[in-house]
């Protein structure tokens, strides 16, 4: 029995070490590439420290108790009786309160900080994000560009994502740049992110939205300001115009590849306004959103 | 205890309760429609009046505190009102940003 418990107890820390060393490459959350993700990363590390401490204390106590107080031969007349111990109980109420406080303060600070742009001096760039079944549409109102399933951003510039959705809720998540926020129909949520380093970052929907949800990935390409400007120019001059009919076909349930347009759908519709596209056209909407009537989902 | 109840010959308690509830209702009506106060003040007052009137029903008509379970019944009602407030106020607060 004794060995078994030891073996088992050693399993967890061991696997922890293995996992941390072997897979850290892929642990996107632990490899932040921007100030938002960095804030969260610091908070996570801070909390992991306390959690490990708690786990160690409990595990050590547990093991010691189990080994020392097993029933052994010769204990027949041992009649343990004990009611409690107020002092001890105060200790293990007080210490958790302190730990929780130590966790709560930075949490509240970070939570408030993440509502604001990451930099004060630099004017943020605004990008509207529309989640639709099952693709991500990005609109740059100032640049007058619209992209599908990928988004280019300049590094070191705060990006203000304005999120909304046509249909089911989705969640906009780019682990290496920062935590997620929901995109919901008929309303708008705001998420500030920023990249420190040029590179390509995986983004995906984190909230289940139906059949094609698994494939709702997008790429965030962080570029230097110069490259970004170049891309904007190029897109503005070479990309086709988005027409309303084209836009409707994009909205149809299904998967699409990447696209770029030199205007945005915001010109004629803003899904974040309640009922902007629904009033009186519920049937139309039902037709659009009903997966059975759409062209079906294309899955590899 | 409700035991004293059966010795009474005239339902004083009920009549007083009824008159009070009418009075409270009409005050609420006047406050809402004719007082001309600010919306906040009106809402505050009429909600308070409603709570008063609910308490009135519970004590005057429903004999909440009687029987050997009176305490449990009272705690139960108070707690359910607490949860009710949490649900109503909480929901409004949480979704305020979209309302």
């Amino acid at each position: 029995m004794k060995q078994k418990i030891w073996k088992w107890a050693s399993l967890l820390p061991l696997s922890l070490v293995l996992l941390l060393s072997g897979c850290s490459e892929n642990m996107l959350v632990m490899r932040p590439k921007g100030p938002v993700a960095k804030t969260q990363y610091d908070l996570i590390l801070w909390s992991i420290g306390f959690m490990l401490l708690i786990i160690v204390v409990v595990f050590v106590l547990f093991t010691v108790v189990l080994i020392r107080y097993r029933e052994k031969p010769g204990m027949e007349n041992y009649e343990p009786e004990e009611e409690g111990n107020t002092l001890l109980e105060i200790v293990w109420t007080a210490i958790p309160i302190l730990i929780v406080t130590a966790l709560a303060i930075p949490t509240v600070k970070a939570t408030f900080a993440l509502e604001k742009p990451t930099k004060e001096k630099v004017e943020p760039i605004t990008i509207h994000v529309t989640a639709a079944n099952w693709k991500w549409i990005f609109s740059y109102p100032d640049q007058n560009i619209e992209t599908v399933n990928y988004v280019n951003i300049p590094v070191d510039v705060p990006v203000k994502f304005k999120l909304t959705s046509v249909g089911p809720m989705n969640s906009f998540w780019v682990p290496q740049l920062g935590g997620q926020k929901y995109a919901m129909d008929g309303m708008e949520t705001e998420l500030f992110l920023e990249a420190d380093e040029p590179g390509s970052y995986m983004g995906r929907s984190a909230n289940f939205s139906g059949e094609g949800f698994t494939h709702m990935e997008f790429e965030v390409v962080a570029q230097t300001q110069k490259e970004f400007n170049k891309w904007v120019k190029e897109a503005q001059s070479t990309a086709p115009k988005l027409s309303e009919t084209k836009y409707e076909t994009i909205l149809k349930p299904g998967l699409v590849g990447r696209m770029t347009f030199s205007n945005t759908h915001l010109e004629w519709i803003d899904h974040s306004k309640q009922n902007s596209h629904h009033a009186g056209e519920a049937d139309e909407q039902a037709r659009l959103c009903n997966p059975l009537e759409g062209n079906g989902i294309v899955v590899e | 205890m409700g035991a004293n109840h059966h010795h009474e010959t005239f339902p004083w308690k009920h009549i007083v309760g009824f008159i009070l509830s009418l009075v409270l209702t009409f005050i609420a009506l006047w406050v809402a429609l004719s007082s001309g106060w600010t919306i906040k003040a009106i809402l505050g007052v009429i909600v308070t009046l409603a709570v008063l009137q609910a308490a009135l029903q519970l004590f005057m008509f429903m004999h909440m505190t009687e029987s050997d379970s009176g305490r449990v019944q009272t705690i139960n009602m108070l707690y359910s009102f607490f949860i009710a407030v949490v649900v109503v106020a909480g929901s409004i607060w949480v979704m305020w940003f979209v309302l």
């Binding site: 029995m1 078994k4 088992w8 399993l11 967890l12 996992l19 897979c23 892929n26 959350v29 632990m30 969260q40 959690m51 708690i54 409990v58 106590l61 547990f62 189990l66 107080y69 029933e71 009611e83 409690g84 109980e89 293990w92 109420t93 949490t107 939570t111 408030f112 993440l114 509502e115 089911p168 809720m169 969640s171 920062g178 935590g179 997620q180 929901y182 919901m184 129909d185 008929g186 929907s205 984190a206 289940f208 139906g210 949800f213 698994t214 309640q274 009922n275 009033a279 909407q285 039902a286 059975l292 989902i297 590899e300 | 379970s69 949860i83 949490v86 909480g90 949480v94 979704m95 305020w96």
Partner: protein, 648 residues
């Protein structure tokens, strides 16, 4: 509607299920007929109002549902083992995680706990039965038909597929046009009503029917946790009732609560769902804490350390559980103030829970620990649950949760608390109270095999998921591509799941084996127990206690034994015992509920209306029912007591 739409078609898996169901039904009918057991089934089970039998039926249903939910889990793990698997397509995967989550929480964990509480609570407080035996039967049958209704969706009409949380607008008509989500709304409603009635029933039972001398502060800890759980049920389930009703209206009558048009608000669903949903997870964990308390103190042979603090901490947890729900949607944008407040209330729950953990550890300290199977489950709970709990606190940190939300980190958290908490407790309770239910002990050797297989498998399965979450793997993905580095950990997880499956099979075998060869429990007190249920014979006489025991202290039976007498039955003091009569009505009313529900699911309103008339009829008959029950004579009690070796 065409028949081809009515029955789910076109899937080998489902045809296999069809065949299995038909064969099982034929098999059951055949066996019952062949052995002439119909009358027995009706008299002894379908019409029973005995809390012990109702409890057994709850547990049997729960184990069946554990099997169903477990098969779902294994199917999901099979699909996720390798990248780009073609085993399940998206539609099927979506249905499977939805039914897995719903069944495991509502039709496995809850009824398992309710089953144990049915069997144990009246015994622990020295009562003859619950406050409302008839209602208790109705509660069970409502739960049961709700569960059956939910399960047949698999072969008739199609399963719900919007997740156990069924967020709108996805769960609305626009995006889920089939009947699957109607099943969700209606089946949960029916069994939820049953649960609410159970809550009221047991609250009154515990408050009013305790043996003389058993003050609140002398109640066994399990009974305490049930008392508080009932409070949670009573105040949380009405919220679910309303949420599901609104969902039903939206889906069947085109109302606009959660729709995207005309002012509807999908966030409101999430809000209502979690106002119920968070207390719900404590509804399944508090009784588990109670079970662990009983088992730990019995096998450490010590009184529970810090009994009072244990009581206050459950009250504290229950209170807090109603003011934390927003932590399930920190990412919906309610703002920093809202998130901060709910962050702090959530983290606060760590404090009373920690008190409990340390009190258990100190109950063990200086004890005389015996490692029975029930004890192993309870011991394993402590370290495993702490892992789940502290990662819960990490989730509670709003700003950090933006990174964990809906990722496998979350999946790992809640399986750690649900399995190491609730499932371990159910297994501990099952092994511990098994002799009370069936009169024999579950084989310890097989029990330990189950334990080690399941417990190790559990860690292998879910520990890697924390890291999958940090790697960016989100929940509810039916597949993933190569090159993300997720494959090895997913393989590991699936291996763990298989181990758990094997553990479960060993458990089932153990039930069969012990029924045939298991050690009979002649004393009624096989574990040298501390609370009153061990003062009865095993299995328990249908009237429970021949005379009502008098309670002088916490751990009443332990005190009786220590004073040298045990629980003696003085034949002179026996009086006739009043018992409630059996009734077939709860069962029949519930069948009517089934048809009403089925009618609603398919919008066959004529069926729903006819069935509702039957329900009303049943209730009216009940109202005019003058049955006062019957008395068991002193002679019969004497005979029973002597047979069980308890009488003088």
């Amino acid at each position: 509607m065409k028949w081809s739409e009515f029955f789910v078609t076109g899937e080998p898996l489902i045809y296999a299920a069809d065949v299995a169901i038909v064969l099982t039904v034929i098999g059951i009918v055949f066996v019952l007929t062949y052995f002439k057991k119909w009358k027995w089934l009706w008299d002894e089970w379908l019409t029973t109002v005995d809390h012990k039998k109702i409890g057994v039926m709850y547990i049997i249903s729960a184990v069946l549902m554990l099997f169903r939910g477990g098969v779902d889990a294994l199917l999901m793990r099979a699909q996720l083992t390798a990248p780009n698997m073609k085993f399940l397509n998206s539609e099927h995967y979506n249905e499977i995680f939805t039914t897995h989550g719903t069944i495991m929480i509502l039709f496995m964990a809850m009824p398992f706990i309710i089953g144990l509480m049915n069997i144990v609570v009246p015994l622990q407080i020295g009562a003859r039965d619950v406050a409302y035996p008839y209602l208790n039967a109705l509660s069970f049958w409502l739960f049961f038909v709700g569960a059956m209704l939910f399960n047949i969706s698999f072969v008739i009409g199609g399963s719900p597929n919007a997740g156990w949380t069924s967020y709108f607008p996805l769960a609305g008509n626009e995006f889920s046009p089939g009947v699957g989500n109607n099943y969700y709304a209606v089946a949960l409603q029916i069994s939820g009503i049953g649960t609410l009635m159970t809550g009221i029933n047991f609250l009154v039972t515990i408050l009013k029917m305790r043996a003389p001398g058993m003050t609140l502060m002398r109640m066994p800890m399990f009974t305490w946790t049930i008392l508080i759980t009932c409070v949670l049920i009573i105040f949380a389930f009405p919220v679910l009732t309303v949420a599901l009703a609104l969902m039903t209206f939206d889906r069947l009558f085109d109302t606009q609560f959660f729709t995207m048009a005309n002012g509807g608000m999908s966030m409101l669903w999430a809000n209502l769902f979690w106002i119920w949903g968070h207390p719900e997870v404590y509804i399944v964990i508090l009784p588990s804490f109670g079970i662990f308390s009983e088992v730990v103190s019995t096998f450490a042979r010590k009184r529970l350390f810090g009994y009072k603090a244990m009581v206050y901490s459950i009250v504290g947890i229950a209170f807090l559980s109603f003011i934390v729900w927003v932590h399930h949607f920190f990412t919906m944008g309610a703002g920093a103030a809202v998130n901060s407040v709910f962050s702090i209330t959530t983290m606060a729950i760590a404090v009373p829970t920690g008190v409990k953990i340390f009190n258990w550890l100190f109950t063990l300290r200086k004890g005389k620990i015996r490692f029975t199977t029930a004890m192993l489950w309870s011991l394993a709970f402590i370290p495993n649950f702490v892992i789940g709990g502290v990662t819960g606190v990490m989730l509670a940190m709003a700003a950090a949760d933006y990174q964990y939300h809906n990722s496998y980190f979350l999946i790992a958290h809640f399986h750690y608390v649900l399995i190491a908490g609730t499932v371990f407790a159910c297994f501990a309770g099952l092994h511990y109270w098994y002799p009370k239910m069936f009169g024999h002990i579950l084989n310890e050797r097989l029990g330990k095999w189950t334990f080690w297989l399941f417990m190790i498998g559990f860690n292998i399965c879910f520990f890697p998921m924390y890291f999958l979450g940090l790697m960016g793997m989100t929940r509810r993905m039916y597949t993933y591509s190569e090159g993300l580095g997720w494959t090895p950990l997913n393989v590991v997880a699936s291996v763990g799941a298989v181990l758990m499956g094997i553990g479960f099979i060993v458990l089932c075998y153990n039930i069969y084996y012990s029924a045939r060869y298991g050690e009979r429990d002649m004393t009624g007190d096989p574990w040298d127990g501390r609370t009153l249920e061990w003062a009865t014979s095993s299995p328990v006489a249908h009237y429970n206690f021949a005379i009502t025991p008098e309670v002088k202290d916490l751990d009443a039976y332990w005190e009786m034994k220590k004073s040298g007498k045990g629980f003696e039955i003085d034949e002179e003091k026996l009086k006739p015992i009043h018992m409630p009569s059996n009734s077939g009505r709860p069962f029949l009313i519930s069948i009517a509920f089934f048809f009403a529900g089925f009618g609603l699911v398919f919008k066959w309103f004529w069926l729903a209306i006819i069935a509702t008339i039957f329900i009303a009829l049943g209730l009216i008959l009940r109202s005019f029912d003058d049955d006062d029950g019957y008395y068991i004579s002193v002679d019969e009690i004497k005979r029973t007591e002597r047979l069980s070796g308890k009488g003088a």
